[in-house]
Symmetry: none
Subunit: 196 residues, 4 copies
Amino acid sequence: MKSTDKHRKIIRAATKVFARKGFYNARISDIAKEAKVADGTIYLYFNNKFDILLSVFEQEIGKLIEHVNLLLGKKNSARTKLEIFITNHLEEMKKNRYLAEVIHIELRQTTKIIREYRKNAFNEYLMIIAAIIEEGQADGTFRQDILPDIAQQVVFGALDEISICWHTDSDCTYTPAEVSYQITSLLQTGLLVQAT
Amino acid sequence: MKSTDKHRKIIRAATKVFARKGFYNARISDIAKEAKVADGTIYLYFNNKFDILLSVFEQEIGKLIEHVNLLLGKKNSARTKLEIFITNHLEEMKKNRYLAEVIHIELRQTTKIIREYRKNAFNEYLMIIAAIIEEGQADGTFRQDILPDIAQQVVFGALDEISICWHTDSDCTYTPAEVSYQITSLLQTGLLVQAT
Amino acid sequence: MKSTDKHRKIIRAATKVFARKGFYNARISDIAKEAKVADGTIYLYFNNKFDILLSVFEQEIGKLIEHVNLLLGKKNSARTKLEIFITNHLEEMKKNRYLAEVIHIELRQTTKIIREYRKNAFNEYLMIIAAIIEEGQADGTFRQDILPDIAQQVVFGALDEISICWHTDSDCTYTPAEVSYQITSLLQTGLLVQAT
Amino acid sequence: MKSTDKHRKIIRAATKVFARKGFYNARISDIAKEAKVADGTIYLYFNNKFDILLSVFEQEIGKLIEHVNLLLGKKNSARTKLEIFITNHLEEMKKNRYLAEVIHIELRQTTKIIREYRKNAFNEYLMIIAAIIEEGQADGTFRQDILPDIAQQVVFGALDEISICWHTDSDCTYTPAEVSYQITSLLQTGLLVQAT
DNA sequence: GATGAATGAGCGTTCATTCAT
DNA sequence: GATGAATGAACGCTCATTCAT
């Protein structure tokens, strides 16, 4: 179990360092120092620098998926689930700035291989959104003419764009609750003033 | 005249190479080869590698701003303008895959300096969205309770997330027109089935 | 232990290479090859190329100072001390051609920083000369009207100019002993034939 | 004659730039800018960068030789001639800081080729000293047991070491006249207090 | 398993030199 | 002759990875 500890320690250190400096500017020695292990030790647990990045996702996004699935429950309506997903994502990103940055920056960065990866692990997280949309369409809450996969991209794109704000712009002072309300409301009832 | 040509040639080559390999994996020699100039020639027009990246934005996003402003016109309603913006952005991204990738990937990648930069040039493009929202709120078309800057982030986030689809996922086969309708509709009237 | 060895090995190699090619024509890879280490290894012990040059001085001139101070002793007269200094300097320069060249060539070359440095470490060596002069003036052996710092410059300038001869001119065949006598005599009693 | 003007202009500019930055840190473009010609123009008058350095010597030291020969005259005693040479050299170095630096720094720097050159042009200047010594020995003024070529090196080394002082150390405030007296006196009658 | 010194391939950048105008 | 844009070889330095201890 001790070796698993080191593995985790390195993942945690890497998350911090990647968030702080970006993948390409992060040095193996930075991660090693942050994790308080020797440079060489990292190679006992990971094949190469890129492998660490992938593991960071696997680890952190795994936790994210687990957590949000727990919150969503089974009895909630699709509408409530969408609210929960949005609120939770924003809260998590606000809380864990390292993860937020890693998702935002790194997910885009290392194109080819990440893209492959995205089809697997990260996609699982995104699929939760699509599933909620489909559920809402099935029970007549959500419009039938909206394509679930496009809606999913809209939702995630919006959330992700917002997240970056907290960690880069100093004048982004809205709370997760405020933003969550805004986005949920916007996505549910739209920008237009409703005709009565 | 001639020097402007070279400048443009290098920008164009850099856009292509950055899109293909990402900033950090792009080599100056790759750009030089693509532009059919010597490595050293690049440094007659740019201070360093990063400066090339910034110039790619300045150049390409400048064109984007100019073009969309032309399309928006002055007489259109805010609602129409939002449609135009969305449609145009998607069409441009579909057309110019290099720009799409550079925006998507690089904008996030090179954190610190880009963030500064984002506040200037790229922000101008984003501000167009916020201005449309505000215009719509002023004339009573758009809801007053939606914060324009948050709406702007939602819109851009959604568009950007969609754009990546075309250039990474092979199974993203929707046309700009289809996607444009979906997003416009979703953002305007929301996901919920309207109560009658 | 081991790391000190590498440090020394690199210093020694650098001394040789700098002497052979001069600072600017010396390549890091030349030094690495001479020291039988990898290029990168050098940067584990030195910050940059210039730092190597400074270290060569620190190391070699440190040894020079230590050695001459030992020889000078405390009981010798100022006159004897001057003789010893001159003889020793010439012998050392004859023996260690690399050091001779590095002092002669490099000391002048890399102006700004070296000048600072000269005020510190190398100056210590020069100050020995001035101290001897002052001692001789105090005990009435040397003329009072000669300024010690000027005399010091004359002595060192003369010695340095001579040193280069051995390593550049093939027709400089005087032995250290011969030259030492010449210089000592010249500086002590002057060029003029003494009136009787 | 116009082309000779350019040649001279470049030489003058190069002297200034070499003195300011040293040979290796001087850029052809620096010299071109200083001379107010295009980079390429320099190659119409010189074969390469090093050729410029050689020409600087040829030009400047040529003037030095001409000037000192004029001053020395033919009727002066060897003793007076030595005084004149010393005084003139110091005055020139004080006056023309560029030349002083170029002689001092560059003469040592570019080892191999300069050494060859030294045997020719610069040597002519040094030979003047040796000739004076020999003349003094011939007429019985100077000691017979001092080797002229060694004395020459002592004289030049001393003068050169002094010159650097003015252009590097801020606390070197002696005037040429003071230093000239000191050196002349030291070299003529020596350090030792004369026995009576 | 853990270390961290050593490696060396690789890249951004500079600048002397060339040559079309 | 004069120009200065273009060239591309060359080098200092970095850092992911290895391996002897």
